[in-house]
């Protein structure tokens, strides 16, 4: 069951190519969880999230300076090397300085027939929602021009339903594993979430419903491992969570763009679709670029409810501005909650895991020692 998600995640380049040849549809690359994917879905295209690959970059270094977000450099490198040649276009949201700038770079350096920029307001307010709704309308128009077909209201409402179903299911999976961590490990859950960003949603919903049924039936044995909360900027594969598991811990819930931030909060299906999308994508995604620290911290605490957490690991990608400013505050807040904190500044290299391992081991040993 789980292998189906995992296999898809690992072979995502090939899977996307297969989807294309099977359906004749277009594949659009997206970044971060702020792109209203329903628009792409409603136009019959497949949105796929760009992932880093933890290999040394070579081509990107000729165009970008050294001290930049390694995740961005990695997908950039892959595009330049042709690994993303199957993309018909990209949709780039305004989520940080680097991704915003990558819009210009994508138009300048990549051979893509379609690149669209979705601006996102920096303050969560009714005015922000109004502005964002207008941007989404522009986005919809632009997709319609690209595909040559209008997106009907019905199609959009249907896509919203499909996405809401996926969100509901993922949320259910999280609730179950928070309560009974032994039924699904952190890395397994992450594999499911990441594959949702790559797979056609209907297919993902089908597999996920089955997984949840299995989870409900499975043996809810008491978890003996140290339970951790992870707050991260970008963790685009499951290696880090696996490392934690190797060291005797388990991630039972998280706050990260490639985790719970992807599916948290539904789109109001009764509302006018564009406004409803704006409302959900602006106000429900707890991204530090637009949400103030107090609200972010409240969100993190709410994510931990119902889980018996022993400690927190904060993982920020190197040079990731939104998260690095927040880290000292988040650390303080977690410690106030009685949760010890371990912090990493990630490099997105395959080899850094070795160094991280010794810290994670120490952290888990420390938590076990406290629990005794």
């Amino acid at each position: 069951m789980l292998e189906e998600f995992e296999n898809y995640r690992v072979a995502h380049h090939q899977e996307a190519k297969d989807w294309k040849s099977k359906t004749g549809g277009k594949v659009l690359g997206t970044l971060c969880c702020n792109v209203p994917e329903e628009i792409i879905h409603a136009a019959g295209m497949l949105p796929v999230r760009l992932l880093g690959e933890h290999e040394p970059t070579t081509e990107a270094d000729l165009h970008l300076p050294t001290n930049l977000c390694p995740y961005c450099k990695s997908w950039f490198d892959q595009v330049l090397k042709g690994k993303y040649d199957y993309l018909d276009g990209m949709v780039i949201p305004n989520v940080c300085n680097i991704i915003k700038a990558s819009y210009g770079f994508s138009k300048y350096l990549f051979k893509l027939s379609y690149v669209h920029f979705v601006d996102i307001p920096q303050s969560i307010s009714p005015e922000g929602v109004e502005f964002f709704a207008k941007n989404i309308m522009d986005f919809k128009k632009s997709i319609e021009d690209f595909s040559g077909k209008p997106i009907s209201d019905k199609a959009l409402r249907h896509s919203i339903d499909v996405y809401n179903e996926n969100r509901t299911l993922l949320d259910k999976m999280y609730t179950l594993r928070k309560k009974y961590p032994s039924v699904l490990s952190g890395s397994e859950a992450q594999s499911v979430v990441i594959s949702s960003m790559l797979m056609p949603k209907e297919e993902h919903n089908r597999l996920l419903s089955r997984l949840i049924k299995d989870m409900e039936k499975s043996d809810k044995a008491l978890e003996k491992r140290v339970s951790l909360f992870v707050s991260a900027s970008i963790l685009d594969d499951t290696d880090f969570f696996k490392l934690i598991e190797e060291c005797g811990g388990n991630v039972v819930t998280d706050d990260m763009p490639m985790g719970s931030r992807y599916f948290y909060g539904l789109v109001d299906s009764k509302d006018e679709p564009l406004h409803a999308l704006a409302e959900r994508y602006l106000t429900k995604i707890a991204c530090p670029r637009k949400m103030l620290p107090a609200d972010r911290l409240a969100f993190s605490v709410s994510r931990m409810e119902g889980a018996n957490i022993n400690g927190t690991i904060i993982h920020s990608m190197r040079a990731c501005d939104p998260h690095l400013y927040e880290y000292p505050l988040l650390r303080q807040e977690m410690e106030k909650q009685g949760l010890p904190v371990l912090f990493f500044r990630g490099e997105e290299t395959a080899t850094e895991r070795e160094q991280q391992k010794s810290d994670i081991e120490a952290f888990i040993e420390m938590l076990q020692d406290q629990m005794e």
Binding site: K100, Q122, E127, F131, D321
Partner: protein, 413 residues
């Protein structure tokens, strides 16, 4: 102890700026004592509105450059890093967080420190870091924060009418926020008066920009990095306008009499990015070889301000904001812009600062450098933080500068 780090200036008018600046900071402290509300602001918060609301604005990025130029940056940065602000984050932000959090272990703050803020105002239009920085600061100080959202979008990605509308709304919200905080009523006439002066000043700034094309250079970056200060922080005042009138006059005189920065101008350099505030004499360094840093990527005024179109000054302000935010517009726009400047200002070589803590500017530098080299324009990349002098190695930087000059001279010979 602290040796002078400021650049050697060539123009008399520029020398007025340190006096103006000192006066301004003394004024903010005085205002605060008298009970005027103090706002700590990021750049891009319109001072015309602050003035109309009788609010004293203190601009933190500017204060950061003051700290850095006194070589106190590393001390305050260390205080910020101590609570966990990574060396990756903006040098200005780390310093000011350090200033806020430091107890007795930080250096003495310049100008007797800053007036205590009643609230914070941030505009993060072109730089997300500001939002992270100000919201962290607002948490630490437990002070209200208003986020003025004024989007800037790359390369025609935007619907400028929609953006202007949004900015207008945001400006009105800013005003209501200030009304609530201060209890003062907004006075549109006051804003209009200041905007008129601002507009006239920017006309003069535009002319100054044009005058800088003259050979030999009538004013280099050593002066401009200082001379730009009034336009950023005294915008819309008579004092500011008069300053630039005097500056323009001095430049015109220098042009008429063919007085350059160096006796015999051999080559002209452009500085791309933020300078290294703790060693501004680096800008003068090329003068030893008959060169002059004649232009910087930042403060070239590309066009006149659009004339007043509405009775409502806020509408005008929003429209101006959309126009201004158009620069630089994505990578291809930046390249065009740079090449155009090189041409117009007869630039022989470009120094690009690779500022590791300012990703917003950093990200384009490699591609800009490549584009310049592809067109045969010599470049030099220097990787140093703008504020944190710990990233600076004088010997290394000077060797690279020397080699760059050798290259330029070999090319011209």
């Amino acid at each position: 102890m602290v040796q002078s780090t400021s650049a050697k200036k060539s123009l008399q008018t520029t020398l007025e700026v340190p006096v103006l600046r000192r006066k301004y900071y003394a004024q903010t402290l005085d205002d605060s004592q008298k009970g005027k509300k103090v706002a700590w602001c990021s750049n891009n918060i319109p001072s015309e509105i602050l003035d109309a609301m009788d609010v004293t604005g203190v601009f933190l990025e500017n204060y950061a450059t003051v700290i850095a130029s006194k070589r106190l940056g590393s001390g305050f940065c260390a205080a910020g890093e101590k609570v966990g602000f990574s060396q990756d984050v903006c040098g200005y932000a780390r310093m000011l967080m350090g200033y806020v959090l430091a107890k007795n272990d930080a250096p003495e703050a310049p100008y007797g420190g800053l007036a205590k803020p009643d609230f914070l105002l941030v505009s993060a239009n072109s730089c997300d870091s500001r939002l992270g920085w100000f919201s962290a600061m607002s948490s630490v100080l437990n002070t209200p924060l208003y986020v003025y959202d004024s989007p800037s979008q790359p390369d025609g990605a935007s619907n400028s009418l929609v953006v202007a509308e949004h900015i207008e709304t945001e400006l009105r919200n800013l005003i209501s926020f200030l009304e609530k905080q201060t209890g003062n009523k907004f006075n549109p006439d006051k804003v209009r008066r200041r905007m008129d002066i601002s507009r006239q000043t920017s006309e003069i700034m535009y002319e100054i920009s044009q005058l800088r094309k003259a050979v030999p250079s009538p004013m280099g970056s050593a002066d401009m990095f200082t001379a730009v200060w009034p336009s950023m922080y005294l915008s819309g005042t008579k004092e500011c306008e008069d300053f630039y009138k005097r500056l323009r006059a001095e430049m015109e005189e220098r042009i008429a009499r063919k007085i350059g920065i160096v006796p015999e101008e051999r080559f002209r350099i452009m500085w791309s990015g933020i300078p290294f505030w703790y060693d501004m004499q680096l800008i003068n360094y090329v003068e030893n070889f008959g060169g002059v840093v004649a232009l910087e990527s930042f403060y070239r005024v590309r066009e006149r301000r659009i004339p007043s179109q509405h009775d409502d000054p806020i509408k005008d302000m929003a429209l101006t904001a959309v126009r201004q935010h158009g620069y630089p517009s994505g990578i291809s726009g930046s390249i065009e812009d740079l090449l155009e400047a090189v041409e117009e200002y007869k630039i022989n070589g470009v120094i690009l600062s690779y500022n590791p803590s300012c990703r917003m500017l950093l990200i384009s530098q490699t591609e800009l450098q490549k584009a310049l080299e592809d067109r045969g324009i010599p470049t030099l990349g220097l990787e140093c933080d703008m504020a944190d002098e710990r990233t600076y190695s004088e010997g290394q930087v000077k060797t690279r500068m020397d080699a760059f000059v050798e290259r330029l001279l070999a090319k011209n010979s």
